[in-house]
């Protein structure tokens, strides 16, 4: 086909149309309303923590306390939360032998772990931290690779019966961004660098992450803790 000026001009029109469509799509992506995002590395204010040292489960007088630093988008944390924690809860927490303290440690490489942690924090405002926490972990495969993570967490909140008005306001304000960062900072100072990490009596746990190993750990510590009282 010989290239007549008319043919080339027609092609320029096609190129122009493609350019307009491409620029329009990019412009839409740039200007569309931002989804809820929770900032990282915020400056932590004293009011952010206000005595908050993690989410607690178990009797206050339990002889052993374990602090878990975890990341909602971490696959290993998910396995631990969904496969091991139910047994640990039945055997140790509900029997009053162990108190569990959950703390956020959102890793930088997981883009949605911070917003997941914030969703759980907003559920905590309404007394539903643990149900939301469990739901987020159970559904990790649904939201981890999805761009609709915030919507999925909101659906969990709705299914749990949360007041969505309060939940939405909490999420939009990023109310607990500082608290999550404080938790991360505290974990890093304690030597946490990966997730999940358990601290027992302030020391990093080096053992296996299964319910039997945790039970043996509590068995070994409980008499000592009890006698120390």
């Amino acid at each position: 086909m010989a290239a007549s000026p008319v043919g080339v001009n027609r092609f320029y029109v096609i190129l122009g149309a493609v350019a307009v469509i491409g620029l329009g799509l990019l412009g839409y992506q740039l200007l569309k309303p931002a989804t809820v995002s929770i900032p990282a590395n915020v400056t932590v204010q004293p009011s952010d923590t206000a005595g908050f040292r993690g989410y607690l489960k178990g009797a206050e007088g339990a002889p052993v306390e374990i602090t878990e630093y975890a990341d909602y988008q971490c696959p290993f944390c998910q396995t631990f939360a969904t496969l091991q924690m139910p047994t640990i809860e039945e055997r140790l927490i509900k029997t009053g032998r162990l108190r569990w303290r959950y703390r956020d440690f959102p890793l930088q490489q997981h883009p949605y772990s911070r917003i997941a942690a914030h969703s759980a924090a907003c559920a905590d405002e309404q007394g539903k931290f643990w149900p939301q926490h469990e739901r987020i972990y159970e559904g990790q495969s649904d939201w981890s690779d999805s761009r609709k993570g915030a919507d999925i967490f909101r659906r969990y909140a709705r299914e749990l019966g949360l007041d969505l008005g309060r939940y939405d306001a909490c999420m939009a304000a990023g109310k607990y961004a500082g608290r999550i960062q404080a938790s991360y900072d505290e974990g890093a100072r304690a030597g946490v660098s990966s997730t999940p990490t358990l601290l027992v009596g302030g020391r990093l746990y080096q053992g296996r992450f299964d319910s039997d190993a945790i039970t043996r750990l509590v068995d070994s510590l409980a008499p000592r803790a009890a006698s120390a009282k």
């Binding site: 086909m1 010989a2 290239a3 092609f11 190129l15 493609v18 995002s37 981890s144 690779d145 761009r147």
Partner: protein, 144 residues
């Protein structure tokens, strides 16, 4: 001329694909539209940079150069000249080799596939093939 036009058009599409990925990489776009979900994994991996430069930016510059070469190649005054097509073929060959390296990383190192990267691979390969076809074609008669 049709192959030259095709190469120019595909280069323009490549500019937009790589611009989209680069805007994501610099945090201007919240999340990638990626059905498989592997895009986030690939784009946030350590291999999303090459020699300290964002791979998406390398792609954007490469496609912009190809588009510029494509615009030159479709000028009627240069319709009988081979050098603009040779330039496109050389640039696209470099792009194909780089894409092979990136695809290897996706499949065997990162273990995740980014659909936008697959799209870019198809685009650069098609530009290369179109350039080869244009080179095989005998020179066109002068337009009246």
């Amino acid at each position: 001329m049709i192959y030259r036009m095709g190469a120019a058009l595909m280069s323009l599409v490549g500019v937009f694909v790589s611009a989209y990925l680069y805007l994501y990489k610099i945090g201007r776009i919240g999340a990638l539209a990626c059905g498989s979900g592997g895009c986030e994994t690939v784009q946030t991996s350590a291999w999303s940079r090459f020699l300290g430069v964002e791979v998406a930016l390398i792609g954007l510059i490469g496609y912009a150069l190809l588009f510029g070469a494509g615009l030159v190649a479709i000028r009627p005054a240069l319709a009988r000249e081979r050098w603009p097509v040779v330039l496109i073929a050389v640039l696209a060959a470099g792009g194909v080799l780089f894409t092979l390296y990136l695809t290897y990383l996706e499949l065997f190192v990162i273990h995740a596939i980014c659909r936008w990267c697959v799209g870019s691979a198809v685009i650069i390969l098609s530009i290369f093939i179109l350039a080869l076809l244009a080179l095989r074609r005998p020179p066109e008669p002068q337009a009246a």
